[in-house]
């Protein structure tokens, strides 16, 4: 059995869960900084009716933890687990929307996983990362559209939401997360993780 296949079948250990928890916390910190910017943008745009777009430029940050977890740990399911851990942490820290966030996290984690699942978890490059980002945009868009009643709004604003979210996701999730993880791997710090083992 190949090294990659045996790794994929191995159950996650405590070390992996703690790593995902702390990873989610750091990305949560980035998200918190983005929330301040998003709130300010929303406040400015609300009277014009475009306030709904306020958080969209930062939406990609939400998917970063899932992609980083899959990219570093390289195992099926870690994207979903990482997103769920991140969402439970958010709920514990007082996210206003409570349990709904956990369901959103499951959907987003699954979407990010799909980008790698398509290649049977054998490709960890820009293509799989960008695919994960695109799937995350589509899935989250359908989910938020269902929750927030996008069908009652004009097509132009709905398309605008999608395009901004897609660009944000491609930049933050597909591009920046990969660059950050590659830089981390270069330091040698991740040598005990699958990303480090694959590089050597």
């Amino acid at each position: 059995m190949s090294k990659k296949l045996s790794r994929q079948r191995k159950a996650l250990a405590l070390k992996d869960y703690i790593f995902m928890g702390l990873l989610s916390l750091v990305f949560g910190l980035i998200y918190l900084l983005a929330v301040y910017a998003g709130s300010a943008t929303t406040a400015v745009l609300t009277p014009s009716g475009y306030g709904i777009l306020g958080y969209e430029p930062f939406y990609g940050i939400w998917f970063m933890a899932a992609l980083a977890a899959v990219y570093i740990l390289r195992r099926p399911g870690v994207g979903i687990v990482a997103e769920i851990i991140a969402s439970v942490i958010e709920v514990i820290l007082g996210n206003t929307f409570g349990p709904v966030v956990i369901l959103s996290a499951f959907i987003q984690g699954l979407a990010v996983e799909l980008g790698f699942m398509i290649f049977r978890y054998k490709r960890y490059d820009y293509l799989s990362c960008l695919l994960g980002a695109v799937f995350a945009t589509v899935f989250s868009f359908v989910w938020t559209g269902f929750r927030s009643g996008y069908h009652t709004m004009q097509l132009q604003i709905v398309l605008l939401i999608f395009v901004i979210r897609l660009l944000s996701s491609i930049f933050f999730t597909g591009f920046l997360t990969k660059v950050l993880c590659d830089q981390l791997a270069k330091t040698g710090l991740l040598n005990s993780y699958p990303i480090g083992q694959d590089k050597t």
Partner: protein, 240 residues
């Protein structure tokens, strides 16, 4: 009373209610659910009105943005058929206004439900209930608790990293390549040390829990009753 509902059943009830609100048209049910949530918050001994308002502020902003967007970008469908307004109501309220009201009150109801969960549930009870009732892996729960308890340390380290950059006169550097990258490096190290320490103390094995979360009839009533109230009200709204 809400304080003592089993967290898993509280979460199930709130989640299914939120899902139902997404498919129930009109703003009446949203306002009703937000009212029930407010009633729960006022009856809780674990929070107070001021704290709830403080947490509600960001959601109020989002709700307001949805109100204006729903009004400005209303797609023009026949709203009276969707929201079951009476003829007199339909003639008084412009459809775009009703659409804005429906979307914003839905956001408000989600936020109020979320607050009921967040402010009336203790962290250790939530985690214990997740392990015992939702069958969450204990290792995953420890990962979550480790992250939550390390939050103040992570914040402090981030502040120090920023300060270190400033002391060295490094200004205008992209924050992702500077302090955040340092944070990621420290996080990887912490996670390895913490995992080693926890494994040495037997945290990777099945352990008994001092906190036993029991399921009572009142938990099941809450878990089923809250979504059932949405369905009942939606049916009443439709047929009366």
């Amino acid at each position: 009373m809400i304080d003592y509902v089993n967290p898993f059943y509280k979460m199930s009830g709130i989640l299914s209610t939120a899902l139902l609100l997404a498919v129930v048209p009109g703003y009446h049910v949203n306002i009703f659910i937000a009212g029930i949530a407010l009633f729960c918050l006022l009856g809780s001994q674990r929070t107070n009105f001021i704290t709830a308002i403080k947490f509600l502020m960001p959601a109020l902003l989002v709700a307001l943005s949805f109100f204006f967007a729903g009004m400005k970008f209303y797609s023009g469908e026949e709203i009276s058929a969707q929201t079951n307004l009476t003829i007199s109501e339909a003639s008084v309220l412009p459809p775009s206004f009703v659409n804005g009201l429906m979307l914003s009150t839905r956001i408000l109801a989600y936020a109020m439900l979320g607050l009921v969960f967040g402010l009336t549930t203790k962290n250790n009870e939530l985690i214990a209930s997740a392990i015992q009732q939702a069958r969450m892996k204990p290792e995953m729960a420890y990962g979550i608790l480790a992250a939550v308890h390390l939050l103040p340390t992570v914040r402090e380290e981030y502040r120090r990293s920023k300060l270190a950059y400033r002391v060295r006169g490094v200004r205008g550097r992209a924050f992702l390549s500077g302090p955040i990258f340092c944070m990621l490096i420290r996080t990887v190290r912490w996670s390895e040390f913490l995992a080693m320490a926890m494994e040495a103390r037997g945290f990777s094995n099945q352990r008994t829990s001092y906190l036993e979360m029991k399921v009572r009839m009142s938990d099941i009533v809450f878990g089923l009753g809250l979504p059932a109230s949405v369905v009942t009200l939606a049916l009443l709204n439709r047929f009366l």
